[in-house]
Symmetry: C2
């Protein structure tokens, strides 16, 4: 299962149990040609993927606005920043400015290690790149700056527990 | 310009001026056939529209999670409830339960009258339908229960002013 599917499954659990309402946003497409046959569903015959203007996930939990993107890497000792796009960082910055609880969901695929990295920490690594900083975030820094999440059953990824710790540490 | 375009334009203004971060969610599509030609963008050759599981708009404003759908009618004296779908109402209920600030954005096209109707009021009309209630919300009730919004320039629809009043009245 991809990280996205794992998160979607966890979100379905949280929704069904009235714990949080978090949804993945659909991928935006530019429609070019759509057929409307009589007596059956519209068929999209030509369309293109558009670049999203936001992150993949957002929603509401205990009155907090949550916003995040999820990324996986095959790397073992660091998380490459090229997994993020400028527009995602800009979107997260705008949400943080409005008081949202924002983070990145990082997975090291080889070891199945999962972390929730606060947006503020992500911004620091992102901005350092331009001033000669590293192009990736060392795993040991993620272990220190982030909140590790352990797979379990129902939900598969209990990331709301890490969100609780983040909210507490943010003091919001 | 459609109501959706008008709201999108207003959201672009709010985003550019660091006032609020509200986006329309893309329409979900079920991909069936996608071509990946060499050296050019992927082309979607067959796809179908899926029913969204949420409302169209959400985002963050002053730490509040906002969630709403926008609807227009050609009716003159009432707003038909058939413009709403069960899954949208259920989604709004779940968001309200999590402390979100939720509403419907209603437009009477003939008169260009715009209202923000709090979700709690919408639920009341929705639920009454099943027990022999009206199938539409009278304009005079919307005038009383909702917040009227007047078109202006920049933003075209200054709905965040109405959100401020709603937040104040909700006492959250
Ligand atoms: Mg992603
Ligand atoms: Mg709509």
């Amino acid at each position: 299962m991809s990280l996205e599917q794992e998160i979607n499954e966890s979100n379905a659990y949280y929704l069904a149990h009235n714990i949080a309402v978090i949804h993945k946003k659909p991928t935006p497409v530019q429609l070019v040609k759509v057929d409307y046959p009589k007596r059956s569903a519209a068929v999209i015959k030509e369309a293109y993927f558009r670049r999203p203007s936001t992150t993949d996930y957002n929603g509401v939990y205990r009155g907090y606005y949550l916003d995040f993107d999820a990324k996986e890497t095959n790397n073992k000792v660091s998380f490459p920043l090229k997994n993020f796009h400028e527009h995602q960082i800009e979107h997260l910055r705008a949400c943080v400015q409005q008081g949202g609880v924002c983070f990145a969901f990082l997975k090291f695929s080889h070891t199945n290690q999962l972390f929730l990295l606060p947006a503020s920490k992500l911004f620091a690594y992102w901005d350092e790149q331009d001033s000669g900083g590293r192009k990736s975030i060392p795993l040991k820094n993620i272990e220190q700056d982030g909140y590790q999440i352990t797979y379990q059953f129902n939900p598969l990824i209990p990331y709301i527990d890490a969100v609780d710790r983040l909210i507490e540490d943010l003091g919001v």
